[in-house]
Symmetry: C2
Subunit: 371 residues, 2 copies
């Protein structure tokens, strides 16, 4: 946590985050190396060319970034970037963290201890009643309630949590109200709670935005409660992400005769904490903190050494790294092990390949071929 960010550095961070082929892993690696987004932006074309890109990589322009910043300002939203004091530590500890977040409403809420409630869109009346009551109890116990503003359980959780603070994490831009019948709820959350999005202001959510959104829901929370969920549903993906992030997973049991109980019951069988109410959550969260910061690696080589020799070595290594990639994601560690090369060099090669669009750096330490 350093001092306040200058307006131009914040804009440069937004530019870097919005640049083609710069995902959150690459963003983090570049910021680690260059320390400031402006320097990273300047290095981008060179790095992308080293990675094998033929057409020049054009960073997002100042004008484009200004357009997004002005659109956010008109909404009264604020932009925070990873590393700033206002950025939630549990979220910053993710591997990788989201580079930037738009917040509309009470930006302080995202710094408070939070619990996520997720569940079926087509939820039972009983499930929605339970979610609403649990959210109210969580609020009274001092927890902010995080959810995804979807129909069903999500909406009920926000309603129940509204009085003590609730956070809606959207897959589209911070102004992308969906479903339409939640327009009123959205307005109340902006007024009393906080709406959060990693995405650009004005963007409509597409299918690929939901997994990143779900990572933020679980990432903001100490634990995730699954109220109702059919098998293979988005709520179960959020639960899996939560477990991977070291968050507690809670599941509300239900009758085997109700297909919406299948998801939570399966989670309990797999070790989730059976949740009948606030007591189960408070008991579990009073234990040790649920998240662990990933150690940060210095992904790049030492600049003091002979540059030409290093470049040639890096080129050879990059080729060997690329040869290991396939469209099926594999752990980056596996490449390090199979090549028997130091991790920083391998990861620098992957960052360059990713900027060239030749690979994709995925959450959870995975990488896939991108061309």
């Amino acid at each position: 946590m350093s001092g306040p960010l200058s307006a131009s550095e914040r804009r440069d961070r937004l530019r870097l985050a919005r640049t083609e082929n710069v995902g959150p892993v690459t963003y983090g690696a570049l910021m680690d190396r260059y320390g400031a987004a402006g320097k990273a932006l300047a290095a981008l074309p060179h790095l992308a060319a080293r990675g094998g890109r033929t057409a020049a990589l054009k960073p997002t322009s100042i004008a484009e970034a200004d357009r997004e910043l002005e659109a956010g300002e008109r909404l009264g939203a604020v932009l925070i970037t990873v590393g700033e004091a206002g950025f939630p530590r549990p979220l910053a500890a993710l591997d990788p963290p989201p580079p930037v977040l738009w917040l509309r409403g009470d930006a302080n809420l995202i710094l408070k201890p939070a619990v996520a409630i997720v569940g079926a869109r087509i939820a039972s009346a009983a499930g929605q009643r339970f979610a609403r009551a649990l959210a109210t109890d969580l609020g009274q116990a001092g927890y902010v309630v995080v959810s995804g503003m979807a129909r069903g359980v999500d909406g009920a959780a926000h309603e129940g949590g509204l009085a003590r603070g609730t956070i809606a994490v959207l897959a589209g831009g911070v102004d992308d109200v969906y479903p339409p019948e939640h327009k009123g709820l959205y307005g109340r959350i902006v007024a009393q709670g906080c709406v959060v999005s990693e995405n650009a202001v004005g963007r409509r959510a597409t299918a690929k935005d939901f997994p990143r959104r779900n990572r933020i829901i679980s990432g903001l929370a100490l634990g995730v409660v699954v109220v109702e969920a059919e098998q293979r549903s988005g709520s179960l993906i959020t639960a899996r992400l939560a477990a991977e992030q070291g968050r507690e997973v809670f599941a509300v049991p239900g009758s085997p005769l109700d297909p919406r109980a299948k998801g939570p019951n399966d989670l309990i069988r797999q070790g989730a904490i059976l949740c009948e109410g606030i007591e189960d959550i408070v008991r579990a969260l009073q234990g040790p903190a649920g998240f662990v910061a990933e150690p940060q690696l210095d992904l790049f080589e030492d600049p003091e050494r002979d540059q030409a020799a290093l470049d040639a070595a890096a080129d050879r290594l990059r080729g060997r790294v690329y040869a290991r990639l396939s469209p099926t994601p594999i752990p980056r560690d596996e490449i390090v092990r199979s090549l028997n090369e130091p991790a920083p060099g391998v990861l620098a090669a992957l960052v360059e390949l990713s900027l060239a669009g030749r690979c994709e750096l995925l959450p959870g330490g995975l990488v896939a071929r991108g061309d």
Copy 2:
């Protein structure tokens, strides 16, 4: 397992089992020592007097035993005693096993692999439907369904299990039909299944008979499934007994909004296997067998040693044992440890005290003062 039992030895076993102050622990200890019920009956008055009884202990008479045997015969019921070939091994392995059992219906059923289903008397329609369907599935998977013929879940389990074999364990005599509306069900179980009771023919159940009945339900089964149960209900006691007996405990989850789900949900939290259907049961029971035979101790002293000296020593020890007892049950092992005396001598003293009505030998290795 020895050869077939003579009619007079069977009658003597019934007499011993029905004699005042002879509970199942004492019965087992006496049979271990004397090998035949007739010899044990002959020794009873002397042992009781040693234990401190002033009025003579009168064993149940031949005439009384004959009356019970004839009443059972009129019902077409058969009496089996622990140690006979027809006595279920899982039940014989209990500490202590029930000394005698009346069986009305198909006596072979109690030798087959069985699963118990228990639950709330005031069960939901969904709970009863689930119990019935699960019982049918268990029957098709080759398991006999054991329950207690109570209203609600028990009745539904018997109905579902009837076609492939079901066992009703009654707290009263084998002819004590309760509740009255289960008269028709009772008749069908006698015709197609088996009714079991440890109690005397013609006896009405009283409150104190239910814990012993519940031990037989779980003792006959490889596992016990709890379908619906409020907190502090009889079904949870059966589940606890099942766990103590090394049986698998299964619990069917339910919504926290349903008070009848509280019991099963708590059991899951405590480690019971979450059960959504037959698969969960088959998967668990295909593991190692669920019950373990307790090693049998020889509770009495070596008859070769000098009798007068032994008697005096036994009297002193009996007094020290008695001094340790209180109305609150304590483990018999604890007395052995605290007196630092060999276990067989301490347990012989307890048997004599129990025959005198001065202590009560309880299941699970416990003993309480009885006067």
